[in-house]
């Protein structure tokens, strides 16, 4: 068994883990719902990827945790922010000057990287869930639809409807009003996706090569399409966009071990 490098991304909604071998190939990956206990979920994904790879803890040469729960893992682990990790993961697939748009469970980020992969600057949503996965989840819950149903319905939309509210609670009030006026559910659902895209484009100027990552893009390709319409270029989507943060963390683990 070769040496392994672990990246764990403990996000507000989902926890992701990636295990790399010494050729930086992914040998195991997992995604689970985070729940309330970061320490437990960290342990759970660790065991899951080790099982998949048929490996033990001793095989892990270096581990890096990222995401909201990055300080809560109870095994030896370095920590790095999700900004750097998403940037690093996206650069792995697109090694050039890129702007990464990551739409996560609780925050949305725009990360600008130079041609050498260096972090040039970043923007994050303000302390508000508008434009994040949490907004989408809340809308799905209120509409009593699953996230995959939302995706399906958006595809059936016949017209563009604009939502004016910023606040998640008021957005739903607005949706109720529109529904009373007879606007069809698919149009409302597309409007919800469009609201997310709107929030993202407000964060910063999107130019050059855009890479879209994160759980929302992974499960809702509509968001990437709407983003493309808005900014006039198709965003590049890496394989397994939800795992990019964990992959970046694993790559940092690899580099850390190399430099040690």
């Amino acid at each position: 068994m070769s040496e392994l490098y672990l990246g764990i991304d403990l996000g507000a909604s989902a926890t992701k883990a990636v295990l790399l071998d010494s050729r930086r190939q992914i040998v195991a990956r997992t995604v689970v719902a985070t729940g309330l206990d970061f320490t437990r979920v960290g342990q759970e994904v660790l065991e899951a990827v080790l099982r998949q790879a048929g490996a033990d803890m001793e095989h892990i040469r270096c581990a890096v945790a990222t995401g909201y729960g990055r300080k809560n893992v109870h095994f030896p682990c370095l920590s790095k922010t999700e900004i750097s990790c998403h940037g690093r993961g996206a650069y792995h697939y697109f090694p050039e000057a890129i702007t990464v748009v990551d739409i996560g469970g609780q925050d949305t980020k725009i990360i600008r990287l130079g041609p050498d992969g260096r972090l040039l600057d970043f923007q994050m949503n303000r302390k508000c869930a508008a434009g994040t996965g949490a907004f989408l989840e809340e809308m799905a819950r209120r509409l009593d639809l699953s996230l995959s149903e939302l995706e399906q319905l958006a595809g059936q939309s016949q017209q563009d409807v604009k939502l004016g509210s910023y606040c998640t609670v008021f957005t739903f009030t607005e949706i109720l009003a529109l529904s009373r006026r007879g606007i069809a559910v698919p149009d409302l659902v597309k409007a919800i996706f469009n609201a997310i895209v709107q929030r993202v484009t407000e964060l910063g100027v999107l130019s050059g090569k855009i890479v879209a990552t994160g759980g929302v893009v992974a499960y809702n390709p509509t968001v990437a399409n709407l983003l493309a319409n808005r900014i006039g270029v198709d965003p590049l989507i890496p394989p397994e966009p939800q795992l990019i943060g964990a992959l970046g963390a694993a790559l940092f683990a690899f580099e850390e071990a190399e430099h040690a």
């Binding site: 270096c62 581990a63 922010t81 900004i83 750097s84 972090l119 040039l120 600057d121 303000r126």
Partner: protein, 413 residues
């Protein structure tokens, strides 16, 4: 791979002296209020404190009290009481927490200083709108409550250059304060006493400037977080000998630190400029975060705002007028940018942090694109954190920490 323990804070020896100075300031005011031995003037932070002292007033600073409410994390308990009487949660949380505390009859002074049960009631309130309009509204509320006069100076804002016309107008307003203040204090105005007070204020200011400048040394012997505490005397006791003595002492300690190679932040490898207000209720957490990141916040607009280089006893009114008007906060963006550039150069700054305080737009310079402009002009990263001076409900610690850690990762390449 190991998880590093949290590095320890290095407390300055001078802290003990600082505590004594602050205590005697509040006990003196309390005693004067109880005995009626001195008239008490409430003054805004860059109001005409020198003039008030020269007229025999003891001076109390509501902003200092409000900062205490923030630092003791009590502000959020009091803000709703001010909201309930019509002061919006969107306006200055110094104002709302301070008025709220008054409505609820509480003060952190009574916990810190046994025997003190209330803030010393004013005989007069004197503001200067150089920082913002909120101070005037704030003082006028107290004026109605205590039925005492509220006087003030209406300042200019958004100036690129401070001209002789600006200075003359403020100087006239300062002189117009003399007759009513004389009447309230019962003391005749004495220009020599004013000159003496200004001289003490000038010395205090100069020493405070030298204290802050020690941070230009690499590694720095002090942090912005130390500064926010040790600026106390420059705020509440400028114009007195005790403030001067205090800064002589503190400066000696910092110089000793430099000589002995003592760094405020061990293995300092990143130097940051803090633009904007402190987040009073989170000083400790933020100081700990930067210690862990081996980053020293070496300088700030906030601490620098109590350096009044223009004070000159030979020209009391003009020099006070200039000193109160040349403040960073009253200036146009172009002028603020020039100032920050100088600071970046002098302190060898690697990155600039902007605190966007929700309830203090006048001290939030990230609102009109300044971080982006400075990033372009200086080529050093800038970051904005959203929070507030006193209302902790407006600060998301998790988000701020991620943002700051990512910022330091960016700075360190």
């Amino acid at each position: 791979m190991s998880i590093e323990p949290q590095p320890a804070f290095k407390k300055l020896e001078s802290s003990l002296r600082l505590k004594q100075l602050m205590a005697s300031h509040f006990y003196e005011l309390d005693e004067a209020a109880r005995r009626g031995s001195h008239k008490i003037a409430w003054c805004s932070s860059v109001g005409p404190a020198e003039l008030l002292r020269s007229l025999g007033f003891l001076v109390y600073f509501p902003e200092n009290h409000a900062a205490l409410l923030g630092a003791t994390r009590k502000a959020t308990d009091y803000i709703p009481a001010a909201n309930a009487i019509g002061y919006s949660p969107e306006i200055c949380s110094y104002l709302t927490s301070d008025i709220g505390a008054c409505i609820m009859g509480e003060t952190p002074l009574s916990r810190a200083y046994p025997g003190i049960t209330r803030v010393p009631p004013p005989d007069v309130l004197v503001y200067n709108t150089n920082q913002c309009r909120a101070v005037k509204d704030w003082f006028q509320w107290y004026s109605r409550k205590f039925r005492v006069p509220c006087l003030g100076v209406q300042s200019f804002r958004q100036m690129d250059e401070v001209t002789t016309l600006h200075v003359a107008a403020i100087s006239t307003q300062l002189q117009q304060l003399i007759p009513p203040l004389q009447e309230i204090s019962g003391t005749r105005f004495d220009i020599d006493r004013l000159r003496e007070t200004i001289e003490l204020s000038r010395q205090c200011s100069e020493l405070w400037g030298q204290v802050l400048e020690t941070a230009a040394h690499r590694p720095s012997p002090l942090t912005f977080f130390d500064g926010t505490i040790h600026m106390g005397p420059a705020v509440i006791a400028r114009g007195t000998q005790s403030a001067v003595d205090y800064y002589i002492f503190l400066l000696a300690e910092l110089r000793q630190r430099i000589e002995a190679g003592v760094a405020a932040v061990n293995h300092e490898n990143c130097r940051i400029y803090w633009e904007g207000m402190p987040i009073w209720g989170k000083l400790r957490e933020l100081a700990a975060l930067f210690l862990r990141l081996k980053t020293c916040v070496v300088a700030s607009t906030y601490c620098n705002s109590w350096i009044f280089s223009d004070l000159d006893p030979r020209d009391p009114f003009e020099s006070m007028a200039r000193a109160y008007t040349e403040l960073f906060i009253t200036r146009a963006d172009a002028c603020k940018e020039r100032y920050i550039k100088q600071m970046v150069e002098f302190y060898r700054i690697d990155g600039i942090l902007f605190h966007e305080a929700k309830t203090c737009p006048d001290n939030s310079n990230s609102l009109y694109g300044m971080p982006q402009r400075l990033y372009q002009q200086l080529g050093i990263p800038t970051v904005v954190i959203h929070g507030d001076l006193n209302d902790l409900r407006l600060f998301s610690e998790e988000q701020a920490v991620t943002r700051l850690e990512a910022f330091i990762e960016q700075v360190q390449g």
